[in-house]
């Protein structure tokens, strides 16, 4: 690939200054598993690569006083899915982190990078949506926060304006009687891009029989990752049963507007949305009722 300069700022201010100085010549480097491939293939161009991994806020995991979590945009997937407290608190997120690429990719790739690459099929984004994540962004005019479901604006594009970088993801405190799950359909068992991805989060009421609140996220069925709000709102107050989850799956299908491409025809993807939303909700309620929160190895019968 064409040569570029390399800088590794050690603070947010330093990074913002570099971005201001170099404009769109500058590209951020976290795990590198997307950007290095893109630079090598000429899909993106860089005069300066800004390695953000020396900035403490981008690499740390900090539990907040309210019980929520703020983790840096460049924390690699393998750190996320090995963290017992994160597994316990946000299992959909750790489900995602365990299946992005493969082991070697997870050694470098970050959730923040997955978000900023903004693929409609990104596996981490439906999980960030259902876990209620917010994006902390820094730029020349200061800091701002954007709910994750507003972050992506189109295939490969997002709301970051020139000179801005993603600092961290902020997750709300885990709720009692709540559980979450992410799964995707792929032709193989691993190392694939989602044909459809579905994330579900729900909170049970005091009886443990009804859904108090739900959130649904979808990947690869629209120009951006989706929050299936109508289906999620419908679940409120409904019994946490197979019938309800099936109905929610049917409603979520209406939110999807996939394209047909080499990974599958559009009508098959719409069908998959219903199937995966039902299964993700089933997985979420299982975890809400005390089931295993460890990331599922999606092989064989557990594929999705």
């Amino acid at each position: 690939m064409r040569d570029f300069e390399y800088q590794a700022p050690s603070s947010i201010d330093e990074a913002v200054a570099l971005l201001a100085e170099h404009g769109d010549r500058a590209k951020m480097l976290a795990g590198g598993t997307d950007i290095i491939v893109q630079l090598r293939e000429g899909l993106r161009d860089a005069g300066l690569v800004v390695d953000v991994k020396k900035i403490p806020e981008l690499m740390q995991i900090a539990w907040r006083d309210d019980g929520g979590l703020e983790f840096g945009a460049s924390v690699p997937c393998h750190v996320i899915y090995k963290d017992e407290k994160i597994i316990d608190s946000y299992p959909a997120l750790t489900d995602s982190a365990k299946i992005i690429g493969g082991w070697q990719i997870q050694g470098r790739a970050s959730i923040g990078g997955n978000l900023c690459n903004s693929s409609p099929a990104a596996d981490s984004i439906p999980s960030l949506i259902v876990e209620g994540a917010a994006c902390r962004i820094a730029g020349p005019t200061g800091e701002r926060t954007v709910p994750v479901h507003d972050f992506c604006t189109g295939p490969g594009t997002n709301c970051l304006t020139e000179g801005e970088l993603l600092i961290s993801l902020v997750l709300p405190p885990p709720a009692k009687s709540a559980g979450s799950r992410y799964m995707r359909f792929i032709p193989r068992n691993e190392m694939d891009i989602a044909v459809v991805g579905a994330g579900a989060w729900l909170r049970l009421d005091e009886s443990g029989e009804s859904v108090e609140e739900a959130r649904l996220g979808l990947a690869a069925v629209a120009p951006t990752p989706l929050s299936a709000d109508e289906a999620a709102a419908w679940l409120q107050g409904k019994p946490a049963t197979e019938e309800s989850f099936s109905e929610a799956g049917d409603m979520a299908r209406k939110a999807a507007s996939p394209i047909s491409d080499m990974r599958g025809p559009a009508d098959y993807r719409v069908h998959l949305v219903g199937v995966l939303v039902k299964r993700a909700l089933t997985g979420a309620v299982g975890r809400a009722r005390g089931g295993d929160r460890n990331p599922v190895i999606p092989v064989g019968i557990n594929r999705c």
Partner: protein, 160 residues
């Protein structure tokens, strides 16, 4: 020719210094600047795992690490697996079990499999296949590779 950057790192337990351009991957520098040709280039885009090395104990695709990023890090390559001329049980089992044909994927598999067994001495077949899914083989069909990893884990457990 771009500006050369000076990098100090540790490779297979020894201090190492080299000059490189920012665009050069760790894979390229290992093979061409440091003559550590055990690590192989397969796809150069993070899919095949032939370039797998450990960076601070974590398996990574060295084609997706810029050499400049290794400043201060500890890198371990396939060359470090055999100790003082003695093959690691994984290497023995790969040979005995014919878990290679052309061998281009083998260094990557050895690094990944060793990291797997060091982390989990008793993986099931499902875990082995899933955790090694970042290593592709075009020759063997994977079966003998999986059996070699299983055999090595038995041999390592017996030794302990």
């Amino acid at each position: 020719m771009g500006r050369k950057i000076h990098v100090s790192t540790t490779i297979n337990g020894e201090d190492s210094e080299f000059l490189c351009e920012a665009r050069q991957s760790l894979l390229e520098v290992l093979r061409t600047s440091l003559s550590l040709t055990g690590t192989k280039e397969g796809c150069n885009n993070g899919n095949c795992g032939a370039c797998t090395v450990l960076m601070n104990g974590v398996p990574v695709d060295s084609c997706l690490v810029l050499a400049v990023e290794t400043e201060g890090a500890e890198i371990e390559t396939v060359e470090s697996i055999a100790k003082e001329g003695h093959l690691h049980p994984l290497q023995e089992c790969f040979l005995e079990g014919a878990a290679l044909q052309c061998g281009i994927c083998t260094p990557g598999f050895l690094v990944s499999a060793k990291a797997l067994l060091d982390d989990n001495p008793d993986p099931g077949e499902k875990e082995i296949r899933f955790e090694l899914s970042g290593n592709l083989c075009r020759c063997t069909g994977y079966d003998k590779i999986v059996r070699a990893v299983q055999a090595a884990s038995e041999r390592m457990k017996e030794a302990n």
